[in-house]
Every structure is written in C-alpha cells, then in structure tokens.
C-alpha cells in the first residue's frame, strides 16, 4: 500500500494545481462533483491486486511514470491527420491532441438540425447549466481511482447531443491523438446524450502521433432516452508504449438500443471497461469486442452489465487474439437484479492463442437474483485448427497467409457488428499488419 501512496500524492498535487483553471468554476453542482471525486480518489488510492477487479492486472506500468498533462492549445501535429479519419461520411468530427480539442482540425460546419457537437471545455465555460442534467449522471466516479481522477479533472472532451427524434445520416467521429513529450497524460471526458427516439453513430478513435509513452484515462458517458438508438464504435490503436484506460458508462431508457463495438489493438498496457445500467424495460444492449495482445502487451476488458428492470436484453461477445508473450484479461459480469424478470442475457469470450507463451485470464460471471430469466455465458481458449490450416495450404496458400486468413476469420463476426466501413477496414488492415510480423506467429506450435 505504501508504495501506492506516492503516486496518489502526486495526483492530488496535480488536481490542486489545475483546479483553478478548470472550466465551469462557478457551477456549484460541477464543483461539488469534482470535490467528491477528489476526496474519493485521495481516500481510496490506487487499487492493488487484492481488489477483485484488479486481481489479474498490475498497475505497475501505469504508476511507474510521473505523468503530467501537456495539453497546449497551440499544439499542432506536424503531419497531416487525414490519415486517421475513419468515417468518410461523418456529419461532424472533433479532433483532440493530448486531451485538448483543436477546433482548427475539427469539422463542425453545417451540422444537421438537432445535432449539437463540440468541446466539453467550451460548453462548460459558456453554459455549464446546459450540461447539468447529464454530466456525471451515468458515470459513477467511485468505480475506480481512474474514474474518480477523470471526474476530479473534468475539463475537455466531446459533447454530443442529439435532439428527440433526430436521426443522423452519418457518424459523429471523435479522434484523440496523443503525442510527446514523454509521460504526457490526458483525461478526456465525453458526454453523449441521445434524447427520446434519436438515432446516431459515434466513433471514438484513439491513436498516437509518435512512439512516446503517453497515458490516456478516458471516460465516456452515454445517456439514451426512450427508444433512442446508438451505435458506439471504439478503436484503441495507440503506440506500443502507450498506457490507456477507458471507462464507458451507459444509462439506457425504455426500449433504447445500445450497440457497441470495442477494439483494442495498441498500448503497452490497456484496460477497457463498459458499465451499463438498463433502468427502463425493453432496453437492448449489445457489445462486441476484439482485442489483440502481443509481446509485452497487456490488454484487459471489464464488463459490468446491470439488468435492474424486467424484459431487457443484453449480448456481449468478446474475442481475443494473443501473440508472442501477450497477456489478456477478460472479466465480464452480468448482474440480474431481483426485479429483472424476463431478462435475456448472453456473454461470450473466445480466445485464439497463437503462441505457447501467451496467456489469458478469463472470468465470465453471471449474478442472478431473479428466477424467470434466460442467461448464459461461455468461454473458450483455443488454437488455430490444424485441419483448417491444412485445408488452406492444400489449396496453394502459404502457411503465414493461411494463419492470417484464419485469424481474420476469427475476428470477422465482431467486426461485422460495426456499420462504419472505414472503421472495419482500418481494424482489418491493422490486424493484417500485426499478424504479418511473421516471427510472432511463426512459432504457433507446429
């Protein structure tokens, strides 16, 4: 525990130092949220492996650096960032560098009626009361020290509001780029609100401009009104030195539909958490995920899906590809509370091990307190089928290409859950690149 105190103290000082410059200082509700989160963070400290949710995940690689913010608004990327755009038909695009929104790189002109998109920082500066009904309403700052830290430091991020009944013709794209100097940290805070009957697609894309070690602690709050439909595609494609934790909190209204595809490719250490609360009946939640972990990488996924009311449906399906000495953790929990009769919930986690040195800890959990429910979970850890490899090779396809084809095939149904062509194409090509590092998969144990 003592070893953890030092970083806590460091962050406490950081919070004190930046607090006066945070936007919305006059909004009492916001100030008290930040204060409660700070208090919680200081009291709780960072988790250790004695905490159940962190049993398989050491924080050493996150706490070993003196991370500091470096969100200079004047910061401009040297290179053209168009290569990072995923959605050709985006109706709006926000670009962030080290957590700070850069309006010059964003495209917000000609927004369709009913859509509001902008920087959270500006919104909090100009009209914080506009956000009061939602900000902090889905996220529980107390979930971990990272959610507390993010809340204590609420500053910039994306603010997306889709008015009742509005159906967007294309995705809202959010691009988060990280860059040096070394040990830069960003705490992006995103708020996505879909009013009753609204339909939208939001793409979150995290990438690095260089190979410096950066830390991203992002938190996205999603609030869906009755009948609202959101497709939420998320790609973590940061550098091999990056540390990344993301927390997505979703609160669903009646008959709303939340459809997510979460892909984790990059990072030395990354963790992705989805916390979903279905608080009104007939809501539907589907989360598909894909993660890759290669040499030196740790990739961690946590799901906390809460059925609090009757007749909601959830489907979670995560697939992992492990290479070299990669490590992955999957901890998926569905909680069906006593009133949540007629719940229909399924959880699946499949892992493809391409090396004998790779390791995965997978822990699906169903906690069911209602008696009339349909719930299932399943986990697999397997290797490429020799019969499948033989089949491809017997048709003239080389062994490495055959392995790549089978790995892509393994990931296909997850990717097909995403409707954004550019997102799927990017993930596929990045997957190909990762798998093409022949040495990594050459020793698959033949």
């Amino acid at each position: 525990m003592n070893a953890m105190l030092e970083p806590v103290e460091r962050y406490r000082r950081l919070i004190d130092a930046v607090a006066p410059s945070l936007p919305g200082g006059a909004a009492g509700w916001l100030m008290s949220q930040r204060a409660r989160a700070t208090e919680h963070f200081v009291r709780q400290g960072f988790p250790t492996r004695k905490d159940e949710a962190w049993r398989y995940t050491s924080l050493e690689r996150v706490l070993d650096q003196a991370w500091a913010p470096n969100a200079d608004p004047a910061l401009q990327p040297a290179a053209d960032i168009a290569a990072f755009h995923l959605a050709k038909d985006a109706v709006a695009r926000l670009v962030f560098i080290n957590g700070r929104c850069l309006p010059g790189l964003s495209s917000l002109s000609g927004l369709p009626a009913g859509l509001q998109v902008g920087s959270l920082h500006s919104a909090l500066k100009q009209r914080p009361e506009r956000l009061a009904p939602w900000l902090g309403q889905a996220a529980q700052a107390s979930v971990s020290s990272f959610t507390a830290l993010n809340t204590a430091l609420i500053d910039d991020g994306a603010w997306v509001h889709v008015a009742a009944g509005t159906k967007l013709a294309g995705p809202v794209e959010l691009l988060y780029l990280s860059t040096g100097p070394e040990t830069t940290v960003a705490h992006p805070r995103n708020l996505v609100v879909l009013e009753d009957g609204a339909e939208a697609t939001v793409v979150e894309h995290y990438a690095s401009l260089d190979a410096t070690a950066c830390f991203t602690n992002s938190l996205t709050e999603v609030l869906l009104g009755a009948g609202a439909q959101l497709e939420h595609a998320r790609l973590q494609d940061e550098s091999a030195a990056a540390r990344h934790i993301s927390n997505v909190f979703v609160r669903q209204g009646q008959s709303s539909h939340y459809r997510a595809v979460g892909v984790s490719l990059g990072g030395l250490w990354s963790r992705s958490e989805y916390h979903n609360r279905m608080q009104q009946t007939q809501a539907r939640c589907e989360i598909d995920g894909l993660y890759i972990a290669g040499d030196a990488q740790l990739t961690d996924v946590h799901l906390d899906i809460g059925h609090a009311v009757p007749a909601c449906t959830s489907r979670e399906r995560f697939k992992g590809i492990l290479l070299g000495r990669g490590r992955a953790v999957f901890d998926g929990r569905i909680r069906v509370e006593v009133d949540a009769q007629k719940t229909d919930a399924q959880l699946a986690n499949d892992n493809l091990m391409l090396s004998r040195q790779a390791e995965v800890d997978t822990k699906p959990q169903l906690e069911i307190f209602a008696d009339d429910v349909k719930c299932s979970h399943g986990t697999t850890v397997g290797q490429l089928e020799p019969a499948q490899l033989f089949y491809l090779r017997s048709r003239g396809i080389g062994a490495d290409d055959a392995r790549r084809m089978l790995c892509l095939g393994f990931a296909t149904d997850v990717l097909q859950a995403c409707s954004v062509d550019g997102f799927r194409a990017r993930v596929e090509s990045r997957l190909q690149q990762r798998l093409a590092a022949g040495a990594v998969i050459g020793n698959s144990g033949e």
């Binding site: 089928e385 033989f390 089949y391 491809l392 048709r395 003239g396 084809m405 296909t412």
Partner: protein
C-alpha cells in the same frame, strides 16, 4: 506423372501403408477401392502432405520431383489437388476470398499474373455455374453451414478453378444423393483431359458408373493387392472385398 514406390507409412507407430506401388500417367483415371481401414484415405492424405503421417520407407515422385519433400502448399502449386471427404468449415473466411487467394497463389506458381477482383468474379461465376452451385454460397463463409452436397460441390468448384494436373478425390461420392453425385461426376468428366490425371478413392462402385476409370486397384492391408480395369470394380460390387483380402492373405 506420379510414381509411388514401396511406400510405407505409419501413424503413431502403427503401420498404415505397407509397400504401396502405383504408377499414374497423364490423362489416366485410376480408382482406388478397398474396405474400410485399408489405408485408402491415408494414402490420399499422405500425397497431399497432411501432418500426422510418418513415411518410414519408399518414395513418391511427381514429375521427377520428390513429392514427399515438398510442403503442403508447394504440392498444390505444382498441380496436385486433394478433394476432401469431409471439407473443412472456415467460419468467418469468405468463400470468395478463399477461392481468390487460392487461385492467385496457384497462378503465381504457374507464372501467371494475379486476377483482379472483376476478372476473378467472372471466372468464379462461370465455374460455379458449371458445377451448379448457387452464387449465394460464394458469399458465405467457406463450407460453414453448407449441406454435405454443397460442400462437395464447393470442392469440385475448386477443382475446376485451380485446374490441377493430378486430382485426388477422397470418397467424394460418400453421403451424396444421386443428383449431387451426377453433378460431381459431370464436373470431373468435364475436366478430363490428356494432360490431367485423376485418382478416385472410393468404397463403392457407384461413382464409377458415372466416371469411367482406366484402372481399378484394390487396397487391402496397406498395399495394392489387385489391379485391373473397370470390370474389377463390377466384380467387387458383386462379390464384396472378402475374397480379395482372403486371396491376398493366402
């Protein structure tokens, strides 16, 4: 084209083939028949390079090369094709992608340029029509959820597309109804040419009603114990395998 000399193979130290000899020339169709467990399918798989078989003696030459020395994909690129008894399902791998990668790998080995998407689509649609295969099956994952007959048709489509010099069909007739059998047979017959040879591995004479072989061999105890023309197949149909196994043992 193919010369098999005294081939001896074992699986987990159990001998499966015990001195098999076979000579296949260009344009010839050979049927290999035999009771269950005689080593027919093992022979087909050893030729294609499947792992799990240990060659303990003998040799196989394919166009004056040591076939057994070549990796699986190299054998395919040199013109050897094995149609599987149980075609493998590849969930998530599009049949079109599979067929295109395969054809382009084989074309590259033959020194031909890769086909672009449009040219490939034209070829594959044409060939699929020939084997009476629904274009819908091209878009699906390879063999995933295909019926037994559809899987076999997909094998024959690959045969038609890849145009191998030596095609080995391992029990391609098993589990097929008469219509599907006819489609398979028509596909094979259409591909018969003076340059292309076939080895038909089959338990039943039925397939040979549709594809007429030049030679029929009976495999028993891991060796070819009798060879003849198509009349041998008819005799087997009438008398079963018992008398040959008995003669061979005597």
């Amino acid at each position: 084209m193919l010369t098999v000399k005294d081939l001896q193979v074992s699986v987990d130290d159990q001998p499966i083939l015990n001195g098999l000899n076979l000579e296949v020339g260009e344009g010839e169709v050979h049927a290999i028949m035999g009771p269950n467990g005689s080593g027919k399918s093992s022979f087909a798989h050893v030729l294609a390079g499947r792992e799990g078989y240990t060659v303990t003696g003998g040799e196989v030459r394919f166009d004056d090369q040591d076939l057994l020395d070549l990796p699986v994909e190299e054998r395919a690129r040199k013109g050897l094709f094995l149609a599987l008894q149980y075609p493998v399902e590849l969930p998530g791998v599009s049949n079109l992608v599979f067929l295109r990668e395969s054809l382009n790998a084989i074309r590259a080995a033959r020194g031909e340029p890769a086909l672009d998407a449009a040219a490939f689509m034209k070829v594959v649609r044409d060939k699929a029509g020939q084997v009476n295969m629904s274009p819908e099956l091209l878009k699906r994952s390879v063999n995933a959820g295909f019926s037994g007959g559809e899987k076999k048709r997909n094998e024959i489509l690959q045969l038609a597309l890849l145009e191998p010099r030596l095609a080995i069909l391992d029990e391609t007739d098993s589990g097929l109804d008469i219509d599907a059998l006819r489609v398979v047979a028509d596909g094979v017959n259409a591909l018969r040419s003076p340059q292309r040879a076939f080895i038909l591995v089959t338990h039943y004479q039925r397939l040979l009603d549709y594809i007429e072989p030049d030679y029929v061999h009976v495999l028993s105890g891991g060796r070819i114990v009798r060879s003849g023309d198509k009349s041998l197949a008819l005799e087997l149909e009438r008398r079963g395998y018992g008398w040959i196994a008995g003669e061979a043992a005597a």
